[in-house]
Symmetry: C2
Subunit: 209 residues, 2 copies
Amino acid sequence: MGITDRKEKQKAEIRRMILDASMKLFVDQGFENVSIRKIADLIEYSPTTIYLYFKDKDDILFSLHELGFQKMQEYNEGLWDIKNPLLRLHKMGENYIRFGLSNPEFYDLMFIQRAPMQKVEQIDNCEWKSGDVALGRLKDTVREGMDKGLIVKGDVDAVSMAIWSMVHGLVSLAIRDRFDKLVPQEAILPMMTQALNWLVETIDLTLRK
Amino acid sequence: MGITDRKEKQKAEIRRMILDASMKLFVDQGFENVSIRKIADLIEYSPTTIYLYFKDKDDILFSLHELGFQKMQEYNEGLWDIKNPLLRLHKMGENYIRFGLSNPEFYDLMFIQRAPMQKVEQIDNCEWKSGDVALGRLKDTVREGMDKGLIVKGDVDAVSMAIWSMVHGLVSLAIRDRFDKLVPQEAILPMMTQALNWLVETIDLTLRK
DNA sequence: CAAATATACTTAACACTGTTAAGTTGCCAA
DNA sequence: TTGGCAACTTAACAGTGTTAAGTATATTTG
């Protein structure tokens, strides 16, 4: 089956091209400037060809959102070498913020836009693998911290959600311009870092006498 | 000037009609289903008439976003009767979550969509009054709590941002369906409440011995 | 090898979107 | 009565996602 094999590879290659073009477009020009026609222009095919490789636009956005999670993991390389769960948690937060601010369009897709979740609802019947894996790592760290008596005890799920929500809140408010008119531009990142530091210090049991 | 006066009132009335129609549309059918033409249909005018009363679509969305802040304040009636700043803070958080989940489309406009902020940037040169006022109330409460030795000390601005970010994170992840596949539907609200409770307990100095 | 079929891609169109320029009413003041 | 102005509409532009139908080219089959 040498021929069908090569065909498969060609098909995968064009899928790649479409994703690459979409990525380029929405990193360069922002989310709302990505259109099927612009993608088609970039890969020099007709717009309808794209529908031979993806069911619809949401399908492309879903794939990109998964690439986003891959990219995010790169930020966390070496994270598990940190043995102290509290320190690891702190670093996770820092990486999360750094990733969000450096890749606002990916972040948007992963945690703000509705499109990818609609695909999850339709296709992958009842699972959001990428999100589940990422949240799992947070939960593990929180649990470890509690077990070792390093951080304030509480329901692991609720506490993990609270921490995730806080960093997500910081990043999403920042990239949706809600800090712009409340905090001087150059003070935004320091303020975010300070907020994270405060949280980590507040839950740190070792700081209490 | 009786005539020009009545004219003014008529003009204001049509503005109202447009805003009411937009509100109805985006509360009933969701944000992305609001179009100039649908608004026009609802008020039985031609689409272009709307441009005689609002500069563009963003202008309408900005006005709606301000109405959202008004509506939010209604949730906080009687809040300042609570003398204990920690209790008040807790209630503020509960109200914030309740408002967000009950009025997702308004919340979207106020804290997620970019459109209203773009209007702020263009017109109101360099202020986001609604946001500033709301954040101000939070800051006052946090400061009062710190002054009275009821909550963990820290930079008032950063701590306020941290708290706002956490509740915003909870609400925005919820209304953008990020909890749906991670937590059973009926467990979402309890989990959010639990997360808020945990935060308040964690910063409560009176609980420490 | 020729005919039938399957593959890859395009053209044209539909039903939308926000927005603008130009045209049409009807009312008010001179 | 007429000029001008205000309120409103029609028609159009340039864009969007998406689908049905058509056209080559390549592959398989008789």
